[in-house]
Subunit: 177 residues, 2 copies
């Protein structure tokens, strides 16, 4: 951030009074502009013991497989976002289960939250997807999973075997999200 989104003037970086972190502060209107982590929401959707993955048609990680996931939007819940991403990326409707994985992607300033889901429709190929398919645990292309957070979620999903064992937490600090 170089300019104030409220008035268009320049910003300077300093610690506001009563704060303990450097923020962008407008040199004219004095508004403090905060930057905070973003939420990525995803869903491991199952049908007959197999889970739904999408092969990405966009960068980053073009051609790699992913659990349907993306940035949470204003106006929706975490669960709503997970269902929306599944619909957008795999044209699939899910009945959501429970929150089962949380990955802190610290270097990217992101928190990734994953729900379990039950596939209750056909599936297809959304705009950001080359191909969608169902995989049993043995069939998962582990070396071609796009993101480490998704790989963690898939591993924990199969370990849980359908039980709600609370939220599995994982932290990523350096490698690509």
């Amino acid at each position: 951030m170089k300019f104030c989104s409220n008035c268009g003037c320049t910003v300077s970086y300093r610690v506001p009074e009563g704060d303990n972190r450097e923020r962008a502060i407008c040199d004219s209107c004095n508004i403090v502009h905060y930057r905070n982590p973003l939420v990525v929401v995803g869903c491991v959707a199952e049908q007959d013991g197999k889970v739904l993955l999408c092969k990405r048609s966009i960068e980053p990680r073009y051609g790699y497989w992913t659990v349907p996931a993306g940035f949470m939007e204003l106006g929706e819940t975490v669960a709503g976002g997970a269902a929306r991403e599944t619909l957008e990326e795999a044209l699939a409707t899910v009945e959501l289960g429970h929150l089962f994985a949380m990955v802190d992607v610290v270097h990217a300033g992101q928190v990734h939250l994953f729900y379990t889901g039950r596939l209750i429709s056909d599936f297809g190929v959304g705009e950001e997807t080359l191909e969608s398919a169902l995989f049993s645990e043995d069939e998962i292309p582990w070396d071609d999973i796009a993101f480490q957070s998704g790989k963690f979620a898939l591993k924990k999903y199969f370990e849980d075997r359908g039980k709600n064992r609370g939220v599995h937490v994982h932290e990523l600090r350096r490698s690509p999200s």
Copy 2:
């Protein structure tokens, strides 16, 4: 947002190509500026069956009691943020337990995440706090709890009785967060 934070020019609101939501787009450098929900992290810290609450010295909800909580910062994990907020607001060190509550505060564009914790230090009064104290379940000032998300977390905390029963999810859409 009225001005581009990258170049200071005006922005217009329209749906970018390949997107399905209106975003602020710079009229000059064409950067798309996204707005997404923020994460609030909190901790219910226990000692000898009592939980730590802080009476707020700031608005909103000045004078009301709250679970230590605040906006997650870049560079930290959800758990790290929950511990930091407890340190800042109650000058208390906690050993964190598990994630046990998630509240979608949809109207505020926030996701509130709560950890259990065990108080392993004395506590005191941070800058945003008038008074800190330990409360048993019977002593909680339920009518003077600052935020509905914190009230939900406290209720579920006592219902769980120390067990990890997964994450309790709650949705708030209209009333103040």
